[in-house]
């Protein structure tokens, strides 16, 4: 793999709440290569968003990150605000989940775009305007000159998310973190938005971190996938491996939950029994063990470390040859 763009090393995120501290992310290590698309999958509360908000320096007031997030030789976790501000919006961009609330309602779309160029490229307003309109055209917004003068509430959700993407692409970032970029959108719009992100990746060589709970999104976009559970990575591997031969029972469970139309034998919707754990009272041992169908005594006592899963992947599970073991039940 080529040199990495973002390197997370032992990154932990804690939140101070009135009910005590919550460990949202625990000693997570992960790297994203140049031009790579890394999918981050997990249920709500698995820490997938907080991991990267921490890297962006955008945690809520009560959040606190320790560890390292190396980007361009800078540890983002320890960097001061002005260093972060020099990188954010320029080399490091983020697209948020809810385009309805993520744009400033009282500012025209155009101004919200040009201020990025004025900030990072020192452009004069006319030059910034031309660049911004060109970018709006590039993300396939019809009549960009007219939209430029509009307020966010005058645009549809899909157009707003295009504006967010244009905003992220303005300075040609090395890494885009897309936090559930399609969750709030109509299904028909989702594919178009993903296509835009894919094109940005291919045309600009931008690395993309795609945070989602939608496995379908990941399957079509990602090169590698990290599956998160209770603030940790439980499986990391090539997208084909994750989908074809998942090595962790949780990954397998997630895949089984995705409804399939082409499988006549599937009569009912499958769920993973139980609830995601309370981060303040994580079960001893493997956090997934109360919901795991393959639970062993060892899982209740010991926390499984990330270990090789074969094929270059990693898994945090004590089960040997999980994929084959599952297959063995059906095919001798």
């Amino acid at each position: 793999m080529s040199a990495s763009v973002l390197d997370l090393r032992n990154l932990s995120v804690r939140f101070t709440t009135p009910d005590g501290d919550v460990a949202a992310v625990s000693e997570l290590s992960l790297s994203v290569g140049k031009g790579e698309c890394l999918g981050i999958v997990g249920e709500s509360g698995s820490g997938k968003s907080q991991t990267f908000l921490a890297a962006m320096g955008l945690l809520a007031h009560n959040g606190h990150a320790v560890g390292e997030a190396i980007f361009g030789g800078v540890n983002l976790v320890a960097a001061d605000e002005s260093t972060l501000n020099g990188l954010r919006g320029d080399k490091l961009a983020m697209i948020f989940q809810d385009p309805m609330t993520s744009l400033t309602p009282h500012m025209k779309v155009g101004h919200q775009l040009t201020e990025v160029l004025v900030r990072h490229r020192n452009l004069k307003s006319t030059a910034a305007r031309d660049r911004a309109i060109a970018m709006l055209r590039r993300v396939q917004i019809p009549e960009p000159e007219r939209r430029f003068e509009m307020y966010p509430h005058e645009l549809s959700g899909g157009l707003r998310q295009r504006v967010m993407i244009a905003m992220a692409l303005l300075c040609g970032p090395e890494l885009i973190i897309a936090d559930e970029p399609t969750t709030a959108l109509d299904v028909t719009i989702q594919a178009q938005i993903l296509d835009l992100i894919r094109r940005a990746k291919e045309e600009l060589g931008t690395a993309v971190i795609l945070i989602t709970h939608d496995l379908g999104v990941v399957a079509g976009m990602a090169d590698r996938v990290a599956v998160m559970y209770a603030g940790r990575i439980v499986e990391l591997g090539d997208v084909h491996q994750i989908f074809n031969a998942p090595q962790h029972p949780y990954t397998k469970g997630l895949l089984a939950c995705t409804p399939r139309l082409d499988d006549a034998t599937a009569s009912a919707l499958v769920t993973i029994p139980g609830q995601p754990p309370n981060l303040q009272r994580l079960p001893k041992g493997c956090a997934y063990h109360p919901r795991c169908q393959n639970v062993m005594d060892r899982c209740r006592a010991e926390k499984p470390p990330l270990m090789s899963a074969g094929g270059g992947g990693l898994k945090a599970c004590f089960l040997e040859n999980f994929g084959r073991f599952q297959a063995g039940a059906v095919v001798p």
Partner: protein, 314 residues
């Protein structure tokens, strides 16, 4: 927007008429009358007085006469200050109250809003607690106490120093005579504005679009001033509408303490004396101001939030 404006003004007229009517009959329903003093007036004189002021006419007739006079801009004679009519009293007192109230308003905004932002941006830190504590003190100390404390400090204790300020009186609006009453008027408004601005700012800074603005690498100052301030000011503007109307029509307490010839005292004196026309005059004035201020507030909303539109056409 202009048609909206015109329609709101048009709605204001029947509103004002309703206030006038309700107020007129409520005043007449209160026991006693303008000529009931400590010493009873002989019945013949009372009858003459009542005839002189048309109080012996049937009530509906008095009402129609009053409204007809109003339409000609005549608020009628004062029952208590017999050498004056109400129009004169208001014309003399209102500019004084207006000047003091406006100064207090400007001071309150200039101090309260920045302090509120300052407190909000350090939410739950020491500076927030200090600002909020001072603001809370400003709210809980009533101005009849604050006024006397100010007089004691600046009028009496500091009498021989450069900080001496007159303890009262107006002296035709000399600056030194204005300082204490204006300050006393503005204090509770500073305090309220601090709290409202702080709340609005904290709320605004939590919005998703603030996170977007920060993700763009904008310096914190720009994030606050460009992205957060406008929505933070919406509750402030809401508060300022009626607050302005109250401030401009004078404060009975402050004007009494500092012996200022404004119209604030007429509210109370007029009501106590059953000075029907005077009460009506000041009530109509403040009602008209409140209606006007609410209209201005509604128009300001559209400047702060482009989603607010009038008429439903874009």
């Amino acid at each position: 927007m202009w048609s909206y404006f015109a329609r709101r003004v048009a709605i204001g007229i029947p509103t004002l008429w309703a206030i006038i009517t309700v107020c007129f009959f409520m005043m007449r329903l209160t026991p006693g009358g303008p000529f009931d003093g400590e010493a009873p007036v002989p019945p013949e004189i009372l009858a003459n007085l009542r005839a002189r002021f048309h109080l012996d006419d049937p009530l509906w007739r008095q009402y129609l006469d009053y409204v007809a006079n109003l339409l000609r801009g005549d608020f009628g004679p004062s029952f208590k200050y017999r050498d004056f009519n109400v129009t004169t009293l208001i014309a003399q007192g209102f500019p004084v109250s207006l000047q003091n109230g406006f100064s207090a308003l400007v001071i309150a905004i200039m101090i309260g809003v920045p302090l509120g932002i300052f407190a909000a941006l350090g939410q739950n830190t020491r500076r927030d607690y200090m600002v909020s504590a001072v603001a809370m003190t400003g709210i809980v100390i009533p101005n009849f106490i604050m006024g006397h404390v100010l007089i004691l400090v600046f009028g009496v204790w500091l009498k021989d120093s450069v900080f001496h300020l007159p303890a009262g009186g107006w002296a035709d609006g000399a600056l030194s005579n204005r300082v204490l009453p204006v300050f006393c008027l503005s204090l509770p408004y500073i305090a309220y504005l601090v709290r409202i601005t702080r709340g609005g700012m904290i709320e605004a800074m939590r919005a998703n679009y603030i996170r977007t603005a920060r993700a763009k690498g904008l310096p914190f100052r720009l994030v606050v001033l460009r992205h957060a301030l406008k929505s933070a000011l919406i509750p402030v503007v809401t508060f300022l509408g009626p607050a302005t109307a109250f401030l401009l029509t004078g404060s009975m307490v402050v004007e009494t303490i500092f012996q200022i010839p404004g119209i604030g005292r007429y509210f109370v004196q007029g009501a106590l004396n059953r000075d029907y026309t005077l009460v009506m005059g000041v009530t109509i004035l403040s009602a008209a101001l409140i209606i006007a201020m609410n209209l201005i507030v509604d128009l300001l909303y559209s400047l702060l939030d482009p989603r607010v539109r009038y008429e439903g056409k874009r």
